[in-house]
């Protein structure tokens, strides 16, 4: 499979346009916007990043930095479509279990040496090396790369991983099974190349400014933990001619309200809108508030094991709880940041996902409530029951839990006890199925429905409801072998709506305060894989 000719042509045209002399004259060559003299983008991050080592990073903040510092085989455009990165394209064999990537010959590390297929071989082997113990090594297993599982288990040497450099510019990957969305997974930070010589010379210190050598559009020039990190334009990046932002500064500001104050004072170009403040800010600063769909779901897990609530073992009771949860009220009055009411686990924004016709979606809330009462009576719980709902300590989760508890109490007579727990304690409690109903949230690792629906697979580590349905397991296994599994995903969602191992509440939105000078933010990219080299600052 070659990358689509049309999108490749469009990309080439766009990059050629960007390289025209108009760019140097201080206007954007495509939009015609006058460019600001100071092309510095400053944004807020909630927490210090875990690492900028592509094979070690495990948090969203760190991945954002890594996407600027390093470049993998493929990138995403503003809509989340696949576009060339270090690879100019790829081809797959008929069985679709061997992919061959052609690497561009002008890709350079920031020390001037060439980026070759050998760098990718080293990086991918490093990702599964038990000695490095990458927290994202499971992602290489998920990619179905040959021998990844055995290497992780210490049964085979890293050199047996199904990756090979056929020559300096040809990288071949062998999979254990055909994986239709494999190319999309190469935009993930874990798969980015790393400079072997630098790592061997500096050990763990290789990511420190001064030591680090990277192949992305920016290089790390400053890092003051828990304060800020600075990345500056990499003149040796193969497509540096198209980069406009000179400098990107990430400021660690833990408190979202302080971040908003500093944004208002002009210290930041972008910050998150604090919980509950969207209605006010969208009135006072309408041009600066931006809300867009994210590939994330907020839901409640129901413990379906013996340790759970006996009443919740009855699917009709679970359905009743789900039906009486007024998602419109929660998203409009409680969270109030444009979130989308959810009746399926997989967000509608997910690529290739067709939202199933779930009954509850076609009812009014009054009809849902009436149906819920019927179900509770049928199940023998007409007078309700007692249940405990746990959530990790947070004002936002607390407000939603109070609303849910009140709805269940008023409509079904269910007495809900709320309990908050510190984060790690909460994870332990939920992971050990030592709960009845628990708050949960999930963001997709890649833009395909399986990144959500794998959670209801009985073998999944993340199946905190301990839901087990052999039919669902089989359908999900089959889906992995299909080019287009959207029909299966739709069917699985319909089964979930009946079995209700989880209660979807809403699909997340990104809600930002963004300076009107900042242009080209990829709000259409639901994974929010943004690249600073595509952004620019307009002149005031």
């Amino acid at each position: 499979m070659k990358i689509q000719r049309k999108s490749l042509t469009a990309w080439l045209v766009a990059t050629t346009m960007l390289a025209t002399p108009g760019f140097a004259a201080g206007t954007h060559p495509v939009t015609g916007d006058a460019l600001a003299d100071d092309q510095t983008f400053t944004y807020r991050i909630l927490d210090e990043h875990s690492s900028v080592d592509p094979q070690v990073v495990e948090d969203v903040t760190g991945s954002e930095l890594v996407r600027d510092l390093f470049e993998g085989l493929m990138n995403q455009d503003a809509e989340g479509n696949l576009v060339p990165g270090v690879a100019t394209g790829f081809a797959a064999n008929d069985a679709k279990d061997v992919y061959t990537f052609t690497l561009r010959d002008n890709a350079r590390w920031s020390d001037g040496s060439a980026v070759t297929a050998h760098d990718f071989v080293y990086a991918w082997q490093r990702a599964v090396d038990p000695e490095l113990a990458s927290p994202y090594s499971w992602f290489m297993e998920l990619m179905s790369i040959e021998n990844a599982s055995a290497i992780l288990a210490g049964e085979m040497d890293v050199s047996t991983l199904g990756v090979a450099a056929l020559d300096d510019h040809t990288f071949e990957v062998t999979l254990t099974t055909a994986l239709p969305y494999f190319p999309q997974m190469t935009t993930h930070a874990t798969t980015f190349p790393v400079p072997r010589g630098v790592i061997e010379a500096h050990g763990r210190d290789w990511t420190k400014p001064g030591n680090i050598v990277s192949n992305g559009a920016y290089v790390l020039t400053e890092h003051l933990p828990n304060e800020r990190s600075v990345r500056e334009r990499n003149a040796l990046y193969w497509n540096d001619g198209d980069t406009i932002l000179e400098k990107v500064v990430a400021l660690v500001i833990n408190d979202e309200n302080v971040a908003l104050t500093r944004y208002m004072a002009g210290e930041l170009d972008r910050t998150e809108i604090p919980s509950g403040q969207y209605p006010r800010l969208s009135q006072s600063n309408p041009d600066e508030t931006t809300v867009f769909p994210r590939l994330c779901s907020y839901y409640y897990n129901i413990n379906m094991t013996e340790t759970g609530n006996p009443a919740l073992q009855d699917a009709r009771v679970r359905q009743a709880l789900s039906l009486t949860l007024d998602r419109d009220l929660i998203t409009e009055r409680v969270t109030a940041s444009g979130q989308f009411p959810a009746y399926t686990f997989t967000p509608e924004a997910t690529a290739g996902f067709n939202v199933p016709n779930v009954d509850a979606m076609n009812m009014t809330q009054a009809e849902r409530d009436a149906k819920a009462k019927e179900l509770m009576t049928e199940a023998g719980y007409a007078d309700g029951f007692d249940v405990e709902l746990i959530y990790n300590t947070s004002e936002g989760h607390k407000r939603i839990a109070i609303a849910a508890g009140q709805m269940w109490k008023q409509k079904l007579g269910v007495n809900v006890t709320l309990a908050n727990q510190e984060w790690k304690t909460f994870l332990e409690t939920r992971g050990n199925q030592d709960y009845q109903i628990a708050r949960a949230g999930w963001c997709g690792d890649y833009n395909e429905a399986s990144t959500f629906l794998d959670l209801v697979n009985s073998a999944s580590n993340y199946n905190d409801s301990a839901y087990s349905n052999p039919a669902v397991d089989e359908m999900l296994a089959n889906a992995k072998l299909m080019d287009d599994a959207s029909a299966i995903y739709t069917e699985v969602e319909q089964i979930i709506a009946q079995d209700v191992p989880i209660i979807p509440i809403y699909h997340y939105t990104g809600a930002y305060m963004m300076d009107t000078d900042l242009a080209n933010w990829p709000i259409g990219n639901v994974e929010q894989n943004w690249y600073s080299r595509n952004l620019y600052k307009r002149a005031d």
Partner: protein, 307 residues
């Protein structure tokens, strides 16, 4: 005196050991571990990570290795959360920051606090006394997690005089708000303690004798009253000094200083065992040291105290 100091330093060793063991036990008793996450790691991946960090070893061996590494190599181990750094990095980066704003806050709190306390005591029941007492009450009830956002709102957003946060090598404009936020409540406490202590001393017999001898007021205050009045203040200042130089999590959170206070609290929340132990050892060591300094100051301030 020398024997006293030596004894205290010798006793510090078992004290530190008990503290390390207690901290080690408590952090392992807490639910969850450093690699517990929203996305539970597959068992094999978790096993590899635990092997890398030595967490697959029995507890006694982990503790033994940890202490041996500190004693033999002064190596506090790698951070489990921030994987590009080790504990020595975390402390070397964060401690100078907290030390800087902590010492400045301490100086501000003690000089202004003692001055206010003395003023209030020497001008008892006058307008100056009421103002000083009023200020100390207001400052006392205004916690720094309220003070921080208010200062940013006033000085950054409305007046535009100061940057809202950051450290930038400790430039003065980045120091002002953290120092005000951290020092104000201590200033208030010091003022109140100084005032009440000074009033007590001023009403004692030896001061009455000094007055009867006809000594001028400034000599009575400076030469006779000040030293004994400072005894309760000094005992209060010792833990305050350790607290301010080891960082305030609120200052670090609201002003993004990158200080050690935040690293300490985060290490507990993240179950970053090695950082938690390393910072606890630092805090414990400083507490023991400054308690010793306090005891020596007592002897200097009060001739009746001898070691």
């Amino acid at each position: 005196m020398f024997r006293f100091i030596l004894n205290r330093l010798i006793y510090a060793v078992p004290t530190m050991l008990v503290m390390i063991v207690a901290c080690f036990v408590l952090m392992h008793v807490a639910p969850g571990g450093p690699f517990t996450s929203e996305r539970p790691l597959p068992p094999q991946v978790l096993a590899n990570i635990e092997a890398r960090y030595g967490l697959d070893q029995p507890y006694w061996k982990q503790l033994w290795d940890y202490i041996a590494n500190i004693v033999l190599r002064f190596d506090f181990g790698p951070s489990f959360q921030y994987k590009d750094r080790d504990v020595n990095d975390v402390i070397a980066q964060g401690f100078p920051i907290t030390l800087t704003y902590g010492v400045l806050s301490f100086i501000a709190a003690t000089t202004i606090g003692i001055s206010l306390g003395l003023l209030a005591a020497l001008r008892q029941n006058t307008l100056a006394d009421y103002l000083a007492v009023g200020f100390s009450f207001v400052a006392q009830v205004l916690p720094n997690f309220v003070m921080g956002p208010i200062l940013i709102l006033i000085f950054t957003l409305h007046l535009g005089w100061l940057p809202g946060g950051g450290w930038y090598g400790g430039q003065w404009q980045y120091l002002i708000m953290p120092v005000i936020a951290l020092s104000t409540s201590y200033m208030a406490s010091i003022a109140r303690i100084t005032r009440s202590s000074m009033l007590e001393v001023l009403n004692s017999n030896f001061i009455r004798t000094a007055k009867a001898k006809g000594l001028p007021t400034h000599r009575i205050v400076v030469q006779h009253a000040l030293k004994p009045a400072m005894l309760p203040v000094v005992s209060y200042l010792s833990p305050v000094f350790v607290y301010v130089i080891t960082g305030s999590v609120f200052v670090d959170i609201y002003f993004s200083t990158g200080g050690l206070g935040q690293a300490y609290v985060n290490s507990a929340l993240n179950r970053d065992y090695s950082v938690l132990l390393g910072t606890t050892i630092l805090y414990g060591g400083l507490t023991i040291f400054f308690n010793l300094v306090t005891d020596l100051l007592y002897a200097w301030l009060d001739p009746k105290i001898r070691y």
